[in-house]
């Protein structure tokens, strides 16, 4: 017997990639050796450990930092992945996550040479949020104004962060580190670029393999 209220939930695919990223972030926090091997470390990256550009997003610098980022990630990334998988676009989830993680690392490397270490998922959270807003705006004609309002609010917040050089109303706390708004902008821009590129143009193998 089907329970009507749970029918949609049962049919929804599991956001495995989002959950795997969250699990990796938790592991990097609880296993110091793993965190050391993954953290964005400018000296190590320059010496050839390029994977840290992407893996640095998985490392967090305090318990509060981890909690805020992972909570937002599971909420926003989870819904995005379920939505895109339902649309048959699982490959796009992978390309967004990989692209956003690399974009954040590269922007920090090129734009913040003063930082020797960096960590945090927030750039990828911003990428998922922008992707979700753009997807809603594109596919939900009835509520397009609301999606556009969400995009405008987010753009305003990113502009304010960029201008002030820090984040506003921080949840993560910044004890022991400085906030890097460039990471948020990098994630948002990557999601925008992916949305603008016609389907099948970028990583067609990925898009069709899932």
């Amino acid at each position: 017997m089907r329970v009507p209220a749970l029918a949609g939930v049962r049919a929804a695919p599991l956001p495995t990639l989002t959950l795997a990223v969250a699990a990796a972030a938790l592991a990097a926090y609880w296993l110091p050796a793993l965190g050391d091997a993954w953290i964005y470390d400018r000296g190590a990256i320059v010496a050839g450990q390029w994977w840290r550009l992407a893996s640095g997003n998985l490392v967090h610098l305090s318990g509060r930092h981890l909690a805020a980022d992972v909570l937002a990630w599971v909420l926003i990334g989870g819904v995005l992945e379920v939505r895109w998988r339902t649309q048959g676009r699982a490959g796009a989830v992978l390309s967004l996550y990989v692209g956003a993680s690399l974009a954040v690392g590269c922007v920090v490397l090129l734009g913040r040479p003063d930082l020797s270490r960096f960590g945090g998922l927030s750039g990828m959270v911003e990428a998922a949020l922008v992707a979700l807003l753009l997807d809603g705006w594109r596919h939900d004609r009835a509520g397009s104004r609301l999606w556009a309002l969400g995009l405008a609010l987010l753009a305003g917040k990113l502009a304010l962060e960029w201008a002030s050089g820090t984040t506003v109303l921080t949840l993560s706390g910044t004890a022991g580190f400085v906030a890097v708004p460039q990471a948020h902008v990098a994630g948002a821009v990557l999601a925008l670029v992916q949305a603008l590129v016609p389907r099948g143009c970028v990583w067609p193998i990925l898009r069709h393999s899932w």
Partner: protein, 280 residues
């Protein structure tokens, strides 16, 4: 043969045996060494120093130096080679974000048997918190017989067997927190070059083996240094009661984090709820 003759012959045999044993005891060897134990703890009669809890002010200012030898020659390890080796060790530390500066301290500033009083002078002179002391011990045996070498390190003795014309080398880096007088970690490197010298080329070959020994031992020491540094970082995190870490504002400014704000979480929650409802 009379009893007297027998006694004389036995005494002569005993003398010959004693002379032979004496020869073994006075075997020739080339020895060059600079011991960190002699440098830090020269007076064995004094009670051992009880180390305190290190306070690591990040980013650290690190000094690095060769400990002075106690009357032995440096052999193939010339001042130029020492400086090159110190520079290699310094490069390992430079890449670490918790290191602010690293100073290569000339050997002339370290007194033989200078102990912690000398380290305190260096701390004041160079403004360093932590000092990496590099010591070495190399022996080249040039006589027959199964021989052995004892390396005295800060954590105890190593016994290493040797044979004729063997070159045994040990390099050791000991990283000390000067204020607390506590050893943070150490990384040794050892090497054995088997004897290849002949009577004709003995001197030149031994010199070459000496150089090879230092090169190989330093390579092994660098590998160990990297491992020990990684282990030390884990140890500091796992045993906060043993190491007090103070992150200065300068250090904090060098670490960045993607920091989410409340606005994103609220907006994200609303967007996620709307997207979930309209996902079909």
């Amino acid at each position: 043969m009379s009893m007297l003759s027998l006694r004389t012959a036995a005494a002569a045999l005993a003398l010959v045996l004693l002379a032979a044993l004496g020869g073994c005891n006075t075997m020739r060897e080339h020895h060059s060494a600079a011991s960190v134990v002699d440098y830090l703890y020269p007076d064995k009669d004094k009670p051992m120093v009880t180390p305190g809890t290190p306070v690591l002010n990040l980013p650290l200012r690190v000094g690095i130096a060769f400990v002075p030898g106690a009357g032995y020659g440096g052999g193939a390890l010339t001042e130029t080679r020492k400086q090159a080796l110190l520079q290699q060790v310094a490069d390992h530390f430079k890449a670490e974000p918790f290191v602010k500066t690293i100073e290569v301290i000339p050997s002339a500033y370290l007194r033989p048997r200078g102990s912690f009083a000398n380290l305190e002078e260096l701390r004041t002179m160079y403004g360093v918190d932590v000092v990496a002391l590099v010591s070495y011990d190399q022996v080249q045996f040039t006589d027959e017989g199964l021989l052995s070498l004892t390396y005295w390190t800060i954590v105890g003795a190593y016994m290493v067997p040797g044979e004729k014309n063997d070159t045994q080398t040990m390099l050791d880096t000991v990283v000390m927190d000067v204020r607390s007088r506590k050893m943070l970690f150490r990384a040794p490197g050892m090497d054995r070059v088997s004897g290849r010298a002949t009577l004709v080329n003995a001197s030149e070959q031994l010199r070459q083996d000496s150089l090879t020994g230092f090169d190989n031992a330093s390579r092994q020491m660098m590998v160990n240094l990297e491992q020990q540094l990684a282990l030390f970082k884990d140890k500091v995190k796992e045993h906060p009661q043993d190491y007090q870490v103070v992150r200065s504002a300068e250090y904090t400014q060098r670490t960045g984090g993607g920091s989410l704000d409340g606005g994103v979480l609220v907006l994200g929650a609303l967007v996620a709820a709307a997207a979930w409802r309209r996902r079909r």
